[in-house]
Each structure stands twice: as structure tokens, then as C-alpha cells.
């Protein structure tokens, strides 16, 4: 979202005539930005430099960091556990972002075409406001193998019980489903807000031309929503890669690492095994991957802009 904002402000700044001023507001400005600058320097800039440095060291939290060159990078890139985590994370991201986006589009379209109810919208938003830890716990209980409501219902219907968290094949799909439940309302509201910006006459024209709802959706809503769709995808994708809370509460990465996502693996390396250098290296690789993904998506976004000129 912010990337777009930056692009939007840049041209307007250039276009605005610079007002001649006798002198700047240097001193007052320093006073105003001092807290923000301090926060940035201490909690963003310094740790970034420190993290970079650690990735070239052997650092166990107890002794001082010791320079080891590129050893960590070699070790991470040849670590099958790391690649397993990346693969698990990727599966999660695809399942989660895919299902979340499609469902949110359906819900947003239905709201847009059928109702303006604020009660409906606020209710759909509730799961997003609840801590992920709570969401994880509630679903852990709902999906419990013996006593959970879902398995009880399956049992009553004469079906086999499902080990949602205990079966390695189900762990990641289950967790991605849970988070889809938690974030779909929020995503739908973002799409809905985007749909409200599409001029109403477009729909009236389509109706006069006798276009059905499906045709209207694919020919009008979807193309005109593209910039927002791309934007929301970037944000969901980056957010989705950083899944931690739900895994930490429900499966703790298990069974047998089937749900050990990259954030959880970094967390384990850092705070269970105290391999700070190793963890920092993985974090840097994650930053790079996210950077590349964002870049690609923003290129796609720019290519799809100007549909609603």
C-alpha cells in the first residue's frame, strides 16, 4: 500500500511551485522529528546494521560475535531444513493467499451488488481484530481430534475423524484455512472499498446492455479493480510469508516439521539453539526474497494501472 502512496506523492511534490522562504524551520523541525529520528536510529537502523554484521559471524548470545566470513550463507543455502521451511512457507502462502483472495472477491462482490449493511461489514471484520493466538486456540479446540466440534460432526455424519493438526498432510492446509478465516473479512472490505470507487453508471450501462451478473463481474468489476487487487495481493503476500503466531500456538512446527514455516525456523535457531548469526542470515535471505517478490508485483501493478482513466 505504501509503495503506491510514495509514487503518488512524488510527482505532486515536483509539480507544486516551491514557495520562496526567507529561512528554513531547522531548529523547530529538529525538535519535531527528534523522537521519530531517535526511534528510527535505535530500533530500525542500528539493528539492521547489527543483523547484517551478525550474518558474517558466529554468535551464540553468550560470547561475543566472531567473524566467519560467508560460512553462514553457505551453511544456510546447503541446509535442507532451511529449504524445507521455505517450501512449507510457500505452500502456506499459496494456499492462504489464493483462498483468501478468491473468497474475499466473492464476498466483496456480493456486498457491493446486494447490500450496504454496516453491521455485516463490521461482523466480517471481527476475526481480523482478534489476536492470532486466540484464533489459533479457538480453532485448535474446534478441530480437536476427539472432542472438537468439527470432528464430532464428521463422526455423527458417519465420516472418519480427521487429524487436522496431527496429520502431516493436513497441518499446513489447516493452518492456512484458519488464517483465511481470520483475514478474509478484512481483505473483502479492502476490495469492497475499491469497488465503491468504480462509477455506478458503468454498472447501469451494463445492465441496460443486458449483461448478466457474472459477465458484469468479469468484464467490469475485475478489470477496474485490478490496481487495488494487485496492491492487496502484495500486502497479503508479504504478510502471509511472516506467519508465526498461529503455528506457534497450534502445531509448534510439527508434526515432524510439516508446518515449520520460515519465521518459526528462524525463531528456533535464534532462541532455542542460540544460533544468532545463522538466524540473522536466514532473515536477510527472507528480506531479499520478499524484496524481489514486491518488485515483481509492483511491476505487474504498474502494467495494469490506468484501466480507470
Amino acid at each position: 500500500m505504501t509503495q503506491l502512496g510514495l509514487q503518488r506523492t512524488a510527482p505532486s511534490r515536483l509539480a507544486a511551485p516551491r514557495m520562496p522562504r526567507p529561512r528554513g524551520d531547522g531548529r523547530v523541525a529538529l525538535l519535531f522529528i527528534a523522537p521519530v529520528l531517535l526511534g528510527f536510529a535505535v530500533f530500525y537502523l542500528y539493528p539492521t546494521i547489527r543483523g547484517l554484521w551478525w550474518s558474517f559471524t558466529d554468535y551464540s548470545l553468550l560470547a561475543e560475535p566472531e567473524f566467519v566470513g560467508l560460512e553462514n550463507y553457505v551453511a544456510v543455502l546447503t541446509d535442507s531444513e532451511f529449504w524445507n521451511s521455505m517450501w512449507v512457507t510457500l505452500c502456506y502462502v499459496v494456499l492462504n493467499v489464493g483462498s483468501q483472495t478468491v473468497l474475499a472477491l466473492v464476498l466483496a462482490t456480493l456486498m457491493h451488488r446486494l447490500t450496504r449493511s454496516v453491521v455485516l461489514r463490521t461482523t466480517l471484520l471481527l476475526p481480523w481484530l482478534v489476536p492470532n493466538v486466540t484464533v489459533g486456540l479457538v480453532w485448535l479446540w474446534l478441530l480437536d481430534t476427539n472432542l472438537g466440534f468439527v470432528n464430532r460432526t464428521l463422526d455423527a455424519m458417519g465420516l472418519d475423524k480427521v487429524g487436522f493438526f496431527t496429520n502431516p498432510a493436513f497441518a499446513i492446509p489447516t493452518i492456512s484455512g484458519i488464517n483465511t478465516w481470520a483475514f478474509v473479512g478484512y481483505t473483502a472490505l479492502l476490495f469492497y472499498a475499491g469497488m465503491l470507487q468504480i462509477p455506478q453508471d458503468t454498472y447501469e450501462a451494463a445492465a441496460i446492455d443486458g449483461a448478466g451478473e457474472l459477465r458484469t463481474f468479469f468484464r467490469i468489476t475485475l478489470p477496474l479493480l485490478k490496481p487495488i487487487l494487485a496492491l492487496v495481493l502484495v500486502v497479503s503476500l508479504i504478510g502471509s510469508f511472516q506467519i508465526f503466531d498461529t503455528v506457534a500456538v497450534t502445531t509448534k512446527g510439527g508434526p515432524v516439521n510439516a508446518s515449520r514455516v520460515i519465521y518459526y525456523y528462524i525463531y528456533q535457531q535464534a532462541f532455542t539453539y542460540f544460533h544468532m548469526g545463522y538466524a540473522a542470515t536466514m532473515a536477510i535471505l527472507l528480506v531479499l526474497i520478499l524484496g524481489v517478490l514486491t518488485f515483481i508485483q509492483l511491476r505487474l501493478l504498474r502494467a495494469s494501472e490506468s484501466q480507470l482513466a
Binding site: V28, F40, R50, G51, W54, P131, T134, L147, A193
Partner: protein
């Protein structure tokens, strides 16, 4: 819920011409498409609410009934004893009798800790980012745009990257298990809040400030007396978003605030789950505690639902 329906007028219909509304009304015939559409919306609504219902229902079930009531939609013997024991109101003996482990569980304290954590972050972050955002939008000083670009670049860095060094920093400062150690990284700024508020200040007209300047008011005075009152809406919005995010925080408070005296609700929920036996988790207690973690945000949604919903339009898209 009722307050919400009465006060909340959907924003879109406000400026809409009557004819367009009337035309839409006229188009509201019952068609198979509409029936399917409404069915899906109702399913989504029920699917959203049911897990919360089940949470509350389980919280009201006595621990002894957890097996018997597992398939029932309503507790056969509703009780609030689970809330009493997770709030630390019962003696260890009574807690054990009600199905707890007897270990000290005091969610009254954890909720209070969370409230302190969220309020500190919400208030100071909003204040400092408003000051910074105003300076970056309005004041003239050397290197303004470049500096702003650098600060905003921090948006691209995933939390885990700064998390590890920040943990070590807080530890080295001796602030582990203190409120200040927990709030420190988000107290002064987040790139998002700074960006959001600067964007707002860029878009408000300069006239009022200029009039105040002609009257001889200094920059600081203008900011406090003129600009902040005008920015009330966005300030509340950003504070609200910050508070909600802080309420949901897990990983950072987990690293810094393990001690009971500063433990937040999310961390306490995790600890509670770990303490209860794997084979037979204390579900009724866990669901009572989960309910306590939902109540504050549910209240926010009931009283400020419209503001939150509308804030999405501008934080998410613009």
C-alpha cells in the same frame, strides 16, 4: 450492536442522488441469483460468528461436562466458574476442583498488562509520529525529502530482521521483563504511522496555518493549537489501528515479557496452553481466557465499528 445500526449510516449512500437509490430499490426483485448471493453472505456471517459462539459456549461449560457437552450447542449446566478461576478469583484448591491445574493463572493482571502496553504504544507513537509527520509535510529544513525516504524504507524490512538485534539490545540495557523494554521499539515511531500522518498533513489546506502565522503564532503553537485539533479524525484512526495491532502482538512480548508481572494476554494464552496437559488440555479455562482476549476488541468494534470500517478505505487503499 444496536448502537451501531442506529448511528452508522453507510457512507456511500449519503451523497447519492435519490433517483439512483430509487432505481436500485426498483431493481430489487427476488431472482435465483439474489437468493444464492444472500445465501452465501449468510453462510459467511454464520461461519464468522460460530467459532466465537463456540468459544463462549465452551467457556460457560463446567470442566466436568466438557466431554458430555462436546456435541451440544448449549451448555447443560452453564457456569461462570471458568471465568472466575482464570481471573484468579478462586483459591488453588477451588481451582483444582473446577478443573484447573492449580497453577497461578491471573488473567485480570494480564488484561491490565495488555491495556498498559497498548495504551502506551498507542498514545506515544501517535503523538511522536504526528509531530514527525507534520515536520516532514510542512516545515522546511535541509535534507527533508531524503531523510523521509530513508525512514520510510524501513517499511520494507520484515519484523523478524530487526527483532533479533532489538531483543539483544533490550537485554543488554537490562530491560527484559519491564514494560519499557516491551514498548520501546514501537513507542517512538513506526514507518507506517509516520507515513500515514504525513500524508494527511500534506492534504489539508494551508490557509488556517498561514492565518495563524500572520497573527504571530510560532510553529510549535500552531501545531498544538491549530493543526492537532484539525487532525483529530486521522489521529484517532491511527491510534486505533496501533492499539489493535499492539493487542494482537505476540512474538515480541513473548521474547521480552515472559515474567508474570508484565505478561500480556496473548503471551499468557500461550503459556496457559503449554501448562495444561497435552493429552487433556483445560479447554473450558482456555476458552474463558480466550473470551477475555476478545471482549476488548469486540467492544471497540461495537462502539467504533463505523470508524474502523471506514478507516480501511483510507489506510488500505489510499
Amino acid at each position: 450492536m444496536t448502537t451501531m445500526t442506529t448511528t452508522a449510516v453507510p457512507p456511500v449512500t449519503v451523497g447519492e442522488p435519490r433517483t439512483a437509490r430509487a432505481r436500485r430499490r426498483a431493481g430489487r426483485r427476488i431472482t435465483p441469483g439474489r437468493v444464492i448471493g444472500w445465501t452465501i453472505l449468510v453462510i459467511a456471517l454464520v461461519g464468522t460468528i460460530f467459532p466465537f459462539y463456540w468459544m463462549v459456549k465452551s467457556a460457560l461449560t463446567p470442566a466436568a461436562d466438557i466431554v458430555g457437552d462436546a456435541g451440544r450447542l448449549w451448555p447443560s449446566n452453564p457456569t461462570v466458574i471458568n471465568f472466575a478461576r482464570v481471573l484468579g478469583l478462586l483459591s488453588p484448591e477451588e481451582t483444582r476442583a473446577a478443573g484447573g491445574s492449580g497453577a497461578s493463572i491471573n488473567f485480570a493482571l494480564y488484561v491490565w498488562n495488555s491495556i498498559v502496553y497498548c495504551s502506551l504504544i498507542g498514545f506515544f507513537q501517535t503523538l511522536f509520529c504526528a509531530m514527525g509527520g507534520y515536520a516532514f509535510a510542512r516545515l522546511r529544513f535541509w535534507g527533508r525529502e531524503g531523510l523521509f525516504g530513508v525512514l520510510i524504507a524501513a517499511l520494507m524490512v520484515p519484523g523478524i530482521f530487526t527483532l533479533l538485534p532489538n531483543f539483544v539490545l533490550v537485554r543488554d540495557l537490562g530491560l527484559l521483563n519491564t514494560v519499557w523494554g516491551m514498548v520501546a521499539p514501537s513507542l517512538l515511531m513506526t514507518p507506517f504511522a509516520l507515513f500515514f500522518l504525513r500524508q494527511f498533513f500534506l492534504n489539508i489546506p494551508k490557509d488556517v496555518e498561514e492565518a495563524a502565522m500572520i497573527d504571530g503564532a510560532g510553529k510549535i503553537r500552531i501545531f498544538w493549537r491549530v493543526v492537532l485539533p484539525m487532525a483529530q479524525g486521522p489521529l484517532i484512526t491511527i491510534a486505533l489501528i496501533t492499539v489493535v495491532w499492539a493487542w494482537k502482538d505476540y512474538l515480541w512480548p513473548l521474547l521480552i515479557g515472559r515474567d508474570e508481572s508484565v505478561r500480556t494476554v496473548t503471551v499468557a494464552l500461550g503459556v496457559y496452553l503449554q501448562q495444561s496437559p497435552n493429552t487433556q488440555p483445560d479447554w473450558t479455562g482456555l476458552m474463558a481466557a480466550s473470551t477475555l482476549s476478545v471482549i476488548p476488541v469486540a467492544l471497540l468494534l461495537i462502539f467504533l465499528g463505523r470508524r474502523i470500517v471506514e478507516s480501511l478505505n483510507f489506510t488500505g487503499i489510499k
